[in-house]
């Protein structure tokens, strides 16, 4: 992005999308975006990209934890250190 105002918007977009910007800065960005078609397009692409990352939960372990490992974990919880533990 070349225009200074677009550049300024570009630098703060994540905080804008996360609602972490002060109200005044948020208003300034919205005022700029309202009249800037390229920024509208760019913000929308970033918003969608972030939304897709937030839904990424598909990969799961192939199997539950082995029972013998869980037994060692229960023992550790009762205060019996597992072999090689630092606790």
């Amino acid at each position: 992005m070349t225009p200074d105002e677009c550049q300024k918007v570009f630098a703060s977009l994540s905080e804008y999308l996360d609602r972490e910007l002060p109200e005044r800065a948020c208003d300034e960005i919205e005022e700029h975006i309202r009249d800037c078609e390229p920024c509208i397009e760019f913000v929308e692409s970033l918003r969608k990209s972030v939304a897709l990352c937030r839904q990424l939960r598909a990969e799961r372990p192939s199997a539950p934890l082995p029972e013998d490992l869980k037994e060692r974990m229960r023992a550790a919880l009762r205060g019996i250190p597992s072999p090689g533990s630092e606790a």
């Binding site: 598909a58 990969e59 919880l77």
Partner: protein, 214 residues
């Protein structure tokens, strides 16, 4: 245009976190019946994080298991159950580093803003950003496994310091403060890295969309 409104998502993350805190408190009080639900609550999350960090399913299985073992070995050291999620992920991050045999002091790959900002094309009134058409992209990831694969690949290609911030903030739903605590960096650093990580993922997805459209 208004900021994103992920209120439902954050409500679910908060409920999830409250449940983890309650389970941690019960375990601290000696309630053994909280063990299985505690393991169930964290096993999948730790696998997901480790898989994205390590890039290999087998390594991720080992990291998730080793992390949980360390969690229970050190459970007496958990002073504040309300911070259990950050505490567990801090252990996972350290196990990942050891697994990858990469020192925290190793040179890190940086992303500059110039690398991830879009270019302009055309002149005058026809001047516009050189980005793909995102309007056809679905809002729901589950709709399209090809897009899910694209998102996963885009995250996995990030340099480590950016990937871990994006995973903690956007995938696991942690706050800026929690992420800063896990990574031993300031909140400003988390914000800077998150922004660059998001821009880099957006750019990679943009390239993939252009390739699909070509």
């Amino acid at each position: 245009m208004s900021p994103s409104k992920p209120l439902l998502r954050w409500r679910l993350v908060r409920q999830d976190n409250q449940r983890e805190i309650e389970l941690a408190r019960r375990l601290k009080n000696g309630d053994a019946s909280a063990f299985e639900p505690f393991v169930d609550a964290f096993h999948g999350k730790l696998f997901q994080y480790s898989y994205m960090m390590c890039g290999h399913r087998e390594d991720a299985e080992e990291v998730a298991q080793e992390t949980l073992m360390k969690v229970f070995d050190n459970f007496a050291k958990l002073r504040e159950p309300e911070h259990v999620r950050a505490w567990v992920f801090r252990i996972a991050r350290n196990v990942c580093i050891v697994k990858r045999r990469k020192s925290v002091f190793a040179p890190v790959e940086e992303i500059s803003l110039d690398e991830v900002k879009p270019n302009w094309k055309g002149d005058g009134d026809s001047r516009r950003l050189d980005i793909a058409d995102w309007s056809a992209l679905p809002e729901q990831l589950a709709i399209d496994s090809e897009i899910s694969g694209m998102v996963r690949a885009a995250i996995q290609e990030l340099p480590e310091i950016y990937k871990t911030v994006l995973l903690l903030r956007d995938v696991e739903g942690m706050t800026t403060a929690e992420s800063a605590g896990i990574l031993d960096v300031s909140e400003e650093v988390v914000k800077t890295r998150l922004h660059r990580a998001r821009l880099a993922v957006r750019q990679k997805l943009d390239s993939s969309l252009k390739a699909v459209a070509a």
